[in-house]
Each structure stands twice: as structure tokens, then as C-alpha cells.
């Protein structure tokens, strides 16, 4: 056990809770930051990186977490949401991990946050240039739908050959009368690479287009990052005569009466209500009442 104790001791650099600032060792952060720089320079391009094993399971935000912990600075204010909700268990656990290993201020108010780690939503507040959005990505490759082999899709991306996705889209319209892409709608970034905008709903895809903030995407299990820099075109693939359709809602939010937010269903007794998925934004609009 002496050898073990030596190993354990040597793994404890100075810093909060026995770990480095923001948990990751410096060489791991450097690896992620290099990949992110490349990603920002080549919008929408999937950049491989040496994804570390994190203290959360693969597929539970390990990629978003590596991005967040690699870019967070001591004066950041951090917000973490899951499905738009700050109170979701997963969001709470990740927020505590980020807060606990950095000591940074955390918030639920998107307007105060300088760094937002999100699972599958863009907050309803109009985010500004100061904001950094970190998306947790389960499936990084939009071409997975048409070919499961990375060796093939890498080549297709390299050659800009997106005909298979266009064909898929065409067949959807021919058979279903519509596109079947729900969330994860494939988008072309600045006329170049086609990317999957993490599984955010189509409603949010439109809000990435030309947005003033930096959007960073981290897929830990798939060991890939990609990015959309500020003021970059994000164009969902669609035919000229078959326009892209965001989700449609037939009722306003039951709580805050918004008819311009992304809403999800809630069943209370027999009644199905629509409520905003961005809970903090909705709460503020509804006058502070907790959802």
C-alpha cells in the first residue's frame, strides 16, 4: 500500500478539493484548447482530440465538461442547463463539479453568465458577444445517418460531398411530405462543412445563425470538438421550395404566456400544458414564480 499511497499523493496537486484549478491537468487543458482554436478557425469542422476520462460517465456531458473546464477562468460566471432547466439533476451535478473545482460564481440567469454549458438548448435570452456557449454533444457527425463508418464520413466531409444527406432529405419529402429531421438538424456552416448542431431543437438552430456569441461543441465519447464563431452563417439544409420548419406550438406557455419560446409538454391530471423549456427565463417572465 505504500506504493499506492505514493501514487495517490502525487495525484494531488495544490488546488481546490485536491485537484488542479478546473480539475483537469494543464496538459489536458492545452490539448482541448488547441483543438478548440482549430475548431474556431475552421467553422463546423470536427476536430479530434485526446478525450480524457472524466469523473462523469461517457455520454453524460464528458465532452462539454472538458471544454468548459479547459476554457473557464476564475472571473467567469457559469450557468449549466439540461434541456433548458437549471434544476435538472444532471445540470446541478455538473454545475457543482464546475463550481467546486474552480470556485467561480454560478448563476441561473443567462444574462449574467459569461460561460454557459448546455445540454440541448440555446437560452431564450438574447446572448451577447461576451457569452461563451458550450454544447454537450452526443453524436458529432451529421453524416452518421447516411454512413456509420468514420473513415467514410471523414472523406465525405473532406470532399464536401453531402449528396447523401440531400438525398435523404429529398426522400423524406417524397415519402413523408416533410423532412423527418427533428432535433440535430444538419446545417451548413458558412457555406462549408455540414455539422450537427448538437441535438438542439430546430427552433434553436435558427438562433445560431449569425449569433454574436461563440458556440463550442464538445463530444467526449466521440473525442471531437467543433465550433461556430460569432457572426457565422448556420444554414439548415433545405430545398428552396421546401423551407426549413422550426417546431410549431399551438398554445402559449401555460405559465408565462410566451408564444415565442421553445415549449415542452407537461401533464397535470388530464390536462396537457405547454411550458417553456428555459425555466429561468420563464420564471422571470412569470414574476418569479417557481415552475
Amino acid at each position: 500500500m505504500t506504493a499506492l499511497q505514493g501514487l495517490v499523493d502525487s495525484s494531488r496537486p495544490t488546488g481546490q478539493a485536491g485537484y488542479s484549478f478546473a480539475y483537469l491537468p494543464d496538459d489536458a487543458k492545452r490539448e482541448v484548447r488547441r483543438a478548440l482554436l482549430k475548431a474556431v478557425c475552421i467553422p463546423g469542422h470536427q476536430v479530434p482530440f485526446a478525450s480524457r476520462e472524466m469523473p462523469v460517465a461517457r455520454g453524460w456531458g464528458s465532452g462539454g465538461l472538458q471544454v468548459t473546464l479547459s476554457v473557464v477562468e476564475p472571473d467567469d460566471t457559469v450557468k449549466v442547463i439540461d434541456q433548458g432547466d437549471d434544476d435538472s439533476h444532471n445540470a446541478v451535478a455538473l454545475r457543482e463539479l464546475v463550481g467546486g473545482t474552480t470556485g467561480v460564481t454560478t448563476t441561473t440567469d443567462a444574462r449574467e453568465a459569461t460561460l454557459i454549458q448546455t445540454r440541448h438548448r440555446v437560452p431564450e435570452d438574447a446572448l451577447q458577444e461576451e457569452a461563451l456557449l458550450v454544447f454537450q454533444v452526443p453524436i458529432a457527425d451529421p453524416l452518421r445517418t447516411v454512413d456509420p463508418r468514420p473513415s467514410v464520413t471523414r472523406r465525405l466531409h473532406g470532399e464536401g460531398d453531402y449528396s447523401a444527406v440531400w438525398l435523404y432529405l429529398y426522400e423524406d419529402h417524397a415519402r413523408l411530405g416533410r423532412s423527418s429531421f427533428a432535433h440535430s438538424y444538419p446545417c451548413q456552416v458558412e457555406g462549408g462543412y455540414v455539422m450537427t448542431p448538437s441535438p438542439i431543437p430546430r427552433y434553436d438552430v435558427a438562433r445560431l445563425d449569425g449569433a454574436p456569441f461563440v458556440a463550442l461543441f464538445g463530444a467526449g465519447r466521440e473525442a471531437t470538438v467543433y465550433a461556430v464563431p460569432p457572426y457565422t452563417e448556420v444554414k439548415p439544409l433545405a430545398f428552396d421550395d421546401r423551407p426549413f420548419e422550426p417546431e410549431a406550438f399551438d398554445q402559449p406557455c401555460w405559465r408565462c404566456r410566451s408564444d415565442a419560446s421553445y415549449r415542452v409538454e407537461e401533464t397535470v391530471g388530464e390536462e396537457i400544458r405547454l411550458v417553456c423549456s428555459d425555466t429561468d427565463w420563464c420564471r422571470r417572465r412569470a414574476g418569479g414564480r417557481r415552475p
Binding site: M1, S10, P48, P55, S62, P138, R154, A174, L176, R221
Partner: protein, 381 residues
């Protein structure tokens, strides 16, 4: 119906307390029962966690198993995350197969290999009868270290270093040279991407989830994908190998420790099914190599078989593998236990935003407002 499970009243803390109390339905984990005794009681479980973690430290693995209530996937996750924050001081020098100090050696392909066979410690031939009487079956006398000596072994030989059983056949030229040559590569510190080659694949197999790797190997052994002939296990050996590093100032190799490993070499008939038009035929054997930490032998056997299958089909055009056992790319994606269990279990996370997007599509299509595009047979053919 799709309301998020919320952390409003300390629900996470309560759930953790329930789990740690054992929820009343199973025995309470009594905290630190002593990882050392766990390592002694369940050595193969500890081996599995060390192998799948890629981190060889029995006391750490045992502690992780305990902390994870025996869930090997979670134990591996704990160990790997711990290791991910440890500094890397360097890499070891190449250890040769013949450096392995053998405590067990069997050669199913060869009746009388040079040096003989040595059964060593094994329960292979113990009838699988559940013993409900004994409190602690692990105290039953197993084969001792000097049992099972093959009579064909030289009289008085001490089991130690042996030549590889396949060596004479390699000299004769009936086994193809290792191919492609494996260059060591650490996938955990190297960006994923194309063309990492056999070294990366062997590392992936060394860390692969035991059950997943065994299942894929099984499909191949039972004949999926064809390719001519059964695999033959040339040699299975277990024992310890020295870990040597280069001294930073003198540049000389020195031993920093030893580790227990099991290695397997499997021969497949026919090296290559030839190129696309079958004009090339290579009828030599292909040898696959599998190595695992500890003595969970099916890990080494499965890995050696899969290495041989991939080596044999490496001359085939890319993307033409018909079954998983021939498909290196597929196995790299599927066999890591952490990636698999994490992603399958992530389905427990809330998905109401994406599900409501799905619902929107399903309802829109059901409503059928837009007529389908005209699509002629000609266009569709």
C-alpha cells in the same frame, strides 16, 4: 408527463444516501471492508477492472470495485478518471514475449512444443458444481504452483522462460510475419482519427470490455464471415513480465517492476482472402496476438483471435468487412466498455426537449398537410 426530475429539495443527496444505505433490499456495503482482502477473494474481478481500465494497480482496482458496489463498469470509470489526472513520466521499453516468466503454458496447436506444456493454476477441468455447503469456497485447495507439470517437459526443468511455440513454424515460413507491424500508440493521449494502425487496435483490445470482446470473438469463432478454417490457439501463457524503462541519465534499461499478464497467440488459416478479384492468394497462417493484464484468459484468447481476423482481412478493400469480427473500425467504436455503458445509460437523462421535437415531426407528418413531392418510377429507380 415530460417534466424534468428536479433538484429542488435535495433529491440528489437523498438518492445518494439511499444507495449508500443499500436501499433495504440488499446487503449494506460496510464501507472499507479492506481492498486487500477483496483483491484476494475476487482476483479475477480485480484483473478485469485493471485490464479494462488500462491501469495496473490491484489495490486501486479493488478499492474502485468496492466503491462501485461491484459494478465493474463504474469501477473502471473511477479508475480511468483517476488515472487521467496522473502525470505520465515516460514509456516502458518493449517487452518480448519470451521475457514472460511462465507459471502456466498450454499449446493446443502442438502436442510437444519445445519446453513442454505446463498446466499451472487452472480451474478449467474442475467440474462446475455449485458448492452450497462451504462458507468460503476460495479456501478450497486449488492446484498448487508445482502441480500439473507436463511429463514431456524436460526432467527437472523449472518453469521460467520458454521459447514461443509458433517460432519453429515462423522459421519454416508457414506463418506469415506479423503484419501489419504494430507500433505502440496510446489512444488515451492521442487525438482519435484515421489510420492509427494495429498498435492502436491492440491497445483498444487490451482495454476492451470483456463481455463485448468475447461476444464478437464468439461470432467469428462460430464461423461468421467465413474465411476458411477454424482458429487454432497456438499458445496461451500466463506469468509475469518485467517492466523496463530507460534510465533518464544513464540511458540504460532497468526494471521498475513486474506485472502479471496472460498472452495468447492464435493462428488462422490463410493470411488473406486476396485482393478484390481474388488474384492474390496467400495460404500461410496469420498469427494474432492478445495480451491482458492478470489471468482472465478469455480476454487474451478473444483479443488474439480478433487481431488475427483483422490482420487477415487487412488486404481487403476498406469498408468491405461483412461481419464485426473482421471490422477493425467497427470494433474500435463498439468494444470500449466505458463508451458503451455510458452512452446506453445516458438514456436515463431527461430528453423532453429532443422528444418534443420528435413529437412535432411525427404529428406534422400524421397531419399530412403537405402533399408528397411527385416522384416518378424513373427517378426512383
Amino acid at each position: 408527463m415530460y417534466t424534468t426530475v428536479k433538484e429542488l429539495n435535495g433529491a440528489i443527496g437523498a438518492a445518494i444516501r439511499l444507495a449508500e444505505r443499500g436501499n433495504g433490499s440488499r446487503p449494506v456495503t460496510s464501507g472499507r471492508t479492506g481492498s486487500t482482502s477483496l483483491a484476494r477473494l475476487l482476483p479475477l474481478l480485480v484483473d478485469q477492472v485493471m485490464a479494462e481500465s488500462g491501469i495496473i494497480e490491484a489495490a486501486v482496482a479493488a478499492r474502485a470495485i468496492e466503491q462501485a458496489d461491484g459494478d465493474t463498469s463504474r469501477a473502471v470509470s473511477l479508475v480511468r478518471a483517476w488515472g487521467a489526472c496522473l502525470p505520465r513520466f515516460g514509456r516502458s521499453r518493449v517487452t518480448l514475449a519470451t521475457d514472460l516468466e511462465v507459471s502456466r503454458r498450454i499449446t493446443p496447436a502442438l502436442q510437444r512444443p519445445e519446453g513442454g506444456q505446463y498446466l499451472g493454476a487452472s480451474r478449467d477441468f474442475l467440474p462446475r458444481l455449485l458448492d452450497l455447503d462451504s462458507d468460503d469456497s476460495s479456501t478450497a485447495p486449488g492446484p498448487g504452483p508445482n502441480d500439473g507439470m507436463d511429463r514431456q517437459a524436460p526432467e527437472g526443468a523449472t518453469p521460467a522462460l520458454f521459447p514461443r511455440a509458433a517460432e519453429p513454424l515462423e522459421s519454416e515460413g508457414v506463418i506469415a510475419a506479423p503484419h501489419p507491424v504494430a507500433a505502440p500508440l496510446d489512444r488515451t493521449r492521442t487525438a482519435a482519427g484515421a489510420g492509427h494502425g494495429r498498435g492502436a487496435f491492440l491497445q483498444a483490445l487490451a482495454r476492451a470490455e470483456t463481455g463485448a470482446m468475447t461476444a464478437v470473438a464468439y461470432t467469428g469463432v462460430r464461423g461468421d464471415g467465413g474465411g476458411g478454417g477454424d482458429p487454432t490457439l497456438m499458445e496461451l501463457r500466463a506469468g509475469s513480465v518485467p517492466v523496463r524503462v530507460t534510465h533518464p541519465s544513464s540511458g540504460r534499461p532497468f526494471v521498475v517492476g513486474r506485472m502479471e499478464v496472460t498472452t495468447a497467440e492464435t493462428a488462422l488459416y490463410r493470411m488473406s482472402r486476396g485482393d478484390a478479384d481474388q488474384s492474390v492468394t496467400d495460404s500461410r497462417f496469420t498469427l494474432g496476438v492478445g495480451v491482458t493484464v492478470g489471468s482472465l484468459e478469455r480476454r487474451a484468447i478473444a483479443a488474439s483471435f480478433l487481431d488475427a481476423r483483422v490482420a487477415r482481412s487487412c488486404g481487403d478493400p476498406a469498408g468491405t468487412a461483412q461481419v464485426p469480427a473482421d471490422d477493425e473500425e467497427w470494433m474500435l467504436l463498439a468494444l470500449d466498455g466505458q463508451e458503451a455503458t455510458g452512452f446506453v445509460e445516458h438514456l436515463k437523462l431527461p430528453h423532453h426537449v429532443t422528444f418534443s421535437s420528435d413529437l412535432d415531426r411525427v404529428r406534422a407528418v400524421a397531419a399530412g398537410q403537405d402533399p408528397a413531392l411527385p416522384l416518378s418510377d424513373e427517378e426512383h429507380s
